[in-house]
Symmetry: C3
Subunit: 134 residues, 3 copies
């Protein structure tokens, strides 16, 4: 089990390379890589790693769907972006599994793994990376 710390800003922060390094070091030929984020106001997502507009549009859509300061929310002491962050985390992923094929992450050509920071302020986030296989 490895722990990876990520400095984030609001939006999608790529961690594919950091996770790939853990897989390389584990010298597993075929197996599974499990990634787990230890937070509830940031989350994981696997998305397109080509056009950066995809990540901007994802952030724009989610921030329109779950608006900062929505008067529906009663959990407001940590700021107008806190409760929306929890909702966005519920809508995306806390854990993600990626198969290991021929010793490498078996991602599709256009897939990257991201920590999605939902808070407005930069954060340091911790991700656990577990590798199993042979």
């Amino acid at each position: 089990m490895e722990s990876v710390t990520v400095a984030t800003h609001r939006g999608l922060n790529e961690i594919t390379d950091a996770v790939a390094r853990v897989v390389d070091a584990a010298r597993v030929r075929e197996g599974l890589c499990t990634v787990f984020i230890r937070h509830t106001s940031a989350s994981l997502v696997i998305q397109e790693n080509a056009d950066p507009a995809v990540r901007r549009d994802l952030e724009a859509f989610f921030s329109r769907l779950v608006a900062d300061g929505d008067p529906l929310f009663t959990h407001v002491t940590e700021g107008p972006d806190d409760m929306p962050s929890h909702v966005k985390a519920a809508l995306t992923r806390t854990s993600e599994q990626i198969p290991i094929v021929d010793g490498r992450l078996g991602l599709g050509t256009w897939q990257g793994l991201y920590v999605w920071e939902h808070r407005s302020a930069p954060h340091r986030r911790t991700v656990l990376v577990h590798v199993a296989g042979e």
Copy 2:
């Protein structure tokens, strides 16, 4: 593999302790705990376990986003809350992985694991818990 039965009411029902007991009994020092819910109108989510308002706001947001009795829905024979339940399950999780670190669930400080009951009536839900590791 252990099967855990949970008595639920609409909203988030914590199962962290029940799953932690399965992990304790397995005596695995480092590995993975996989939780799977065998239903499509209730789901899993990992969320903040501190302020109960977070869970209430999550339920309020999802129930506004996917309204009971929405005239869009044609699958209505099981009641106005049934099809919204399927949508909410699609928006959250059926399976969740939690790393096991030093013999315990490697959750972050503020993370708890919940069965999210989407139906209005109380239910009994079955969750499978699988532990792997050494």
Copy 3:
């Protein structure tokens, strides 16, 4: 690790039987089956396999929530249904774990596994299936 190719049309395309065949061939009595889709404009979901109206309503809800041609989106060169596809994939799943119980997928009575095609045109999608256990 097996690779399964699926011919899809927009909406939910069931792959339960194809994945069950991989599990049968692996002759694992108790363990985990991990399914991973190598795309970011199609996704995985476990949903009700009884009334087909559930799948139609899911598609209708998601397509209303994330509308083709929404002027919010700037990533539009691949067509009005491309960016909505990425959002819908972010809202559902890229990987899914299903416990193996007594040599079979431990799905609930009403659960089926689906590739959710979000693009309007038919596609061929690749899913990786990993089986672990004893």
